[in-house]
């Protein structure tokens, strides 16, 4: 992250990267402002990464700390992988927002406050002693560059005369703040202005609202100029990004798009069956309008019905997918077991959130790995994979569908709240770059052919014959089946054999995985091993460590089950292994057990991503200890 420069000239100080956070009431439009800022920065040529932070309530009481909604963007002239540890510029729309977020601001950072809202009633709502206006605290202006602006008033002024009611006019104040932010970071406002016009003016047919928003935006921008804030201005030049077409994408969008692509690539209908749950619902919302792609969405009565319907769809020959989050996955365990024993294609998307129980529903966590591995009765192995970044959700979804369809096995795809809602620039993919998904579904039998639904090919996979196919009628179910015929069998040896065959089928998938990619040296002092949504932080930390001259490499596992065949070898080539996770050590447990490696953990369960600085500190500590011992 950047440190606030001490210059005082009127030329903006240049930074490699900066982190801005918009914070205000749930109703203040902070997610929108942050989104615009991100888009403009991306279009401007920065690398960007975002981290939204919602309250658990729909709209908690106005002005309370519980109701504060935040949106953080890191934008950079270099290659970044996270939304940043600490904040260089905070936009605080009310006292609660300042109270909740000030501690994250870098010393010397910019703090824009909307002074119009710093009133006694608002202090009370934010549980601030009304006699102690935080703006009067001398430490505030000592430690930060305070920009006190009566945003609400200036916004009211700017939007006057358009015939809007005060409520609608007041809603524009996020655009005022955004305008000011644009000015502070030397970004143009046109990109946003155009989209406001298109959305409110054209699509919603409310030119008055479009005009008000754009006036507020410009007023905010002009305010910087008029108030002569030049010494506070900062510049983040464009990054050297591979040329091409890009869009900003969130993990949920990418994942949904990946499912559609998999349907197209495999020539199958996507049957997405889901019961709404945060933070997975947006996948359903994204897919529901995609009927032109043959996508059918089914909002089921609960998670159990949803997974059962997805299995039913797989049984009937299509691509059945179910999506949920932690508590919902807990409900699906029994049915996933049926998917395992009937050996049918099934994709289970789990967007992890803070647990246990209802936990922290809007926050991120990686604590469902062991549930994904073991959350069902019996010895019931199945495939588990995890995307590593928002954009990677696209590819991971395609891979999950491919494995499910080709290997006839449930695949658990573990996204998380950070990936789901976080966004990054995504270089567009073309369909010609995507391999078709070949699926060998059986046609009618040849004359005299004996059909054995539980025979196997060399990958241990049983044939897929679906209803509608003449001559291949058969019955499957949850009772143990006889090897070959698939008839119900209580034979002891057969159960042993089938248990082994099911495990082998999953294990064999590892034979077709590419070699592990190691970022950094092939061997050395410390291996940073991670999985899923922490990729960005781990990568940044390992790059930083190497830049510091440390012998640190980074491996990020996409395949949690089966694990890559060469993982054991890789682990042995490092003196120490550190497994940072946003849980209490779930991958660590699997790795230690499988490879008997004394892997250390670094575990954070705070509903938010790692700070790169935390990881660097831990790496430093381990290498110091390692060399001391």
């Amino acid at each position: 992250m950047s440190h606030a420069p001490a210059v005082d000239s009127s030329a903006p100080s240049e930074l490699e990267q900066a982190v801005i956070r918009f914070a205000g009431d749930s109703g203040d439009g902070m997610q929108l402002a942050g989104g615009h800022f991100t888009d403009t920065s991306a279009a401007f040529g920065n690398d960007v990464a975002t981290l939204p932070d919602f309250p658990a309530e729909i709209r908690a009481p106005a002005g309370t700390v519980a109701g504060v909604s935040g949106f953080q963007v890191q934008f950079a002239s270099n290659d970044i992988h996270t939304a940043g540890d600490r904040v260089d510029a905070l936009i605080a729309m009310n006292p609660a927002a300042l109270k909740a977020h000030l501690a994250d601001v870098e010393h010397g950072g910019l703090v824009v406050v909307n002074t119009s809202e710093f009133t006694k009633p608002n202090f009370k709502k934010a549980e601030i002693d009304p006699s102690q206006n935080p703006l009067d605290d001398p430490e505030l202006s000592q430690n930060y560059k305070l920009i006190a602006v009566p945003i609400s008033e200036l916004n009211a002024e700017a939007t006057k005369g358009l015939g809007l009611n005060p409520r609608d006019a007041g809603r524009c104040k996020n655009m005022f703040a955004l305008g000011l932010a644009y000015w502070l970071f030397e970004r143009p406002i046109d990109h946003t202005a155009e989209r406001i016009e298109n959305y409110f003016g054209v699509k919603k047919k409310r030119p008055d609202i479009a005009q008000a928003n754009n006036r507020a935006l410009r007023a905010g921008y002009d305010f910087g100029e008029t108030a002569e804030l030049f010494p506070l201005r900062r510049r983040v030049p464009p990054a050297k990004i591979a040329p091409g077409k890009y869009r900003k994408i969130t993990g949920n969008e990418a994942l949904a798009m990946g499912l559609i692509a998999a349907g197209q690539l495999s020539g199958r209908k996507v049957i997405y069956c889901s019961y709404p749950i945060t933070p997975a619902s947006d996948i359903l919302h994204y897919l529901a309008p995609q009927k032109r792609f043959g996508v059918r969405t089914f909002q089921a009565e609960d998670e159990i019905a949803a997974v059962c319907a997805a299995i039913g769809a797989g049984f009937a020959g299509q691509l059945g997918v179910t999506g949920t989050s932690g508590p919902g996955l807990a409900l699906k365990g029994e049915a996933i077991g049926l998917g395992v024993i009937t050996e049918l294609p099934l994709v289970v998307v789990n967007v992890q959130r803070g647990g246990p129980s209802t936990g922290l529903p809007t926050k991120t966590e990686q604590s469902d790995l062991l549930q994904a591995m073991y959350g069902r009765n019996g010895d019931c192995p199945t495939v588990v994979i995890a995307p590593k970044s928002p954009g990677d959700c696209f590819h991971a979804a395609i891979e999950a569908c491919t494995i499910a369809l080709q290997r006839r096995v449930p695949v658990l795809l573990l996204s998380d709240g950070y990936l789901a809602n976080g966004s990054e620039p995504w270089r567009l993919v073309e369909s010609k770059d995507l391999a078709p998904i070949e699926v060998d579904q059986l046609g009618p039998p040849d004359n005299g052919e004996v059909f054995e639904p539980y025979s196997r090919d060399d990958k241990g996979v049983r044939p897929w014959a679906v209803p509608g196919t003449p001559g291949r009628m058969h019955r499957v179910g949850g009772l143990e089946k006889q090897d070959g015929t698939g008839n119900v069998s209580y034979d002891p040896e057969n159960h042993q054999r089938m248990t082994e065959l099911r495990a082998e089928k999953v294990a064999k998938i590892a034979d077709d995985l590419p070699p592990i990619e190691i970022e950094g040296p092939d061997s050395g002092d410390l291996l940073l091993l991670g999985w899923g949504g922490t990729y960005g932080s781990l990568r940044a930390a390992s790059e930083a460590a190497r830049a510091d001259g440390l012998s640190v490499a980074h491996v990020h596992l996409r395949h949690l089950n089966p694990m890559p065949n060469d993982l054991g070898d890789v682990l042995k080539r490092f003196k120490q292994v550190l497994i940072p996770e946003l849980n209490t050590g779930q991958l660590r447990m699997l790795i230690r057990s499988t490879y008997l490696v004394d892997a250390h953990g670094f575990n954070k369960v705070q509903g938010k991503p790692f700070h790169v600085s935390e990881l660097r500190a831990k790496i430093g500590e381990m290498l110091k200890q390692g060399s001391a011992s």
């Binding site: 798009m257 559609i260 059918r296 089914f298 609960d302 567009l428 509608g468 196919t469 019955r475 119900v488």
Partner: protein, 341 residues
């Protein structure tokens, strides 16, 4: 559903699978199985386009015994699988077999939601008023006070009325019959021909754990005394010679003796299967408050309503008609795209 395929005509026995049937000797399930085989032949179901789906229970073993595609799933969840199958391939003829435990205890919620959606499926609920497979605990349809292994002093719960539940769940076809009833075949055939969710409650004797539960409806005398065979457009008469009837007085049903009470057939209730509120009343017959009335067998209610799977297809088609089939590259390049040079 019957399709004229020009294929060889299939007989009842052609629908029997090669698996040994594993119900207890004497179980009512055998009779139902035979009738289903026969109805499949009647409608000339194509085995490869037919799927039997079940949950878990004695009754739910059913799919193994029909030579079609089959899914013996998990306890109570058959409706989910059915819905997925129909979404994937609406052309399939799907039958669902469930029990009073599978369908009304653990699985009632799924059943209710499938019914209100009107997924196109024929549902056979084998009601033996007991948990057979787990060896004889009381079920949600067991009469209050029933002594079983889990209720040695008698059960305390008030029983569910499956037909009433199906009606409240907005089912488009609700019927009742019994394993040994002479009209079971007709009822099954009507269910098979109804488009949408056809719900058929079948009283079934579990001769091991609840023997004789339906003797007062399936024995010859019992049937004569207690069963009212519903026929659309016909007056509600019953009894050995059809000389007893049901009429409505002040909105309340009562039994009359056509001979003794001097009531004409025209004064009786006429069965109108499309009247949902009336069907709800029929469903109460012989339950508390209506003990005097006979037990209606046959189709209590039937209405035409678009099927869920049909509506889903229609939306997909409408979307394609409006904006053309999806183009992957268009999708991949959607959103707010910018170019880096």
């Amino acid at each position: 559903m019957s399709k004229d395929t020009g294929l060889p005509v299939l007989k009842a026995k052609d629908y029997a699978s090669d698996q040994t049937v594993r119900w207890c000797p004497g179980c009512g399930d055998y009779a139902i199985l035979n009738h289903v085989h026969r109805v499949l032949a009647t409608v000339q179901a194509q085995p490869e386009n037919t799927v039997f789906v079940a949950g878990i229970g004695c009754s739910s073993r059913f799919p193994y015994y029909v030579d079609t595609y089959g899914l013996h799933s998990i306890h109570g969840r058959a409706p989910g699988f059915v819905t997925g199958i129909k979404l994937a391939n609406p052309e399939l003829d799907v039958w669902m077999v469930t029990g009073d435990g599978d369908g009304l205890s653990i699985g009632a919620n799924h059943l209710v939601h499938m019914l209100r959606r009107n997924v196109d499926v024929n549902i056979l609920l084998f009601n033996n008023r007991i948990y057979g497979l787990t060896k004889g605990q009381y079920s949600p349809t067991s009469e209050t006070g029933k002594k079983t292994k889990s209720t040695p002093m008698g059960s305390l719960d008030f029983p569910l009325n499956p037909a009433a539940v199906a009606l409240a769940a907005e089912a488009s076809f609700v019927a009742r019959t019994a394993d040994k009833d002479r009209k079971i075949g007709e009822v099954l055939e009507q269910a098979a021909k109804h488009a949408g969710s056809s719900f058929v409650e079948i009283y079934q004797n579990c001769n091991i754990f609840n023997d004789g539960a339906f003797d007062d409806l399936t024995s010859k005398d019992g049937r004569d005394a207690n069963v009212l065979y519903l026929e659309a457009g016909k007056p509600m008469t019953f009894g050995k010679d059809g000389r007893k009837g049901v009429r409505l007085v002040g909105g309340q049903p009562e039994v009359v003796d056509l001979d003794r009470d001097g009531v004409a057939e025209d004064d009786l209730l006429f069965h109108n299967p499309s009247d949902r509120a009336r069907a709800a009343l029929l469903a109460q017959f012989r339950r508390p408050g209506y003990e005097e009335l006979p037990e209606p067998f046959g189709v209590l209610f039937q209405a035409e309503r678009p099927t869920y799977d049909g509506l889903v297809e229609a939306q997909v088609q409408a979307a394609i008609d409006q904006r053309g089939p999806g183009n992957l590259d268009e999708l991949l390049s959607s959103g707010d795209v910018y170019e880096v040079e």
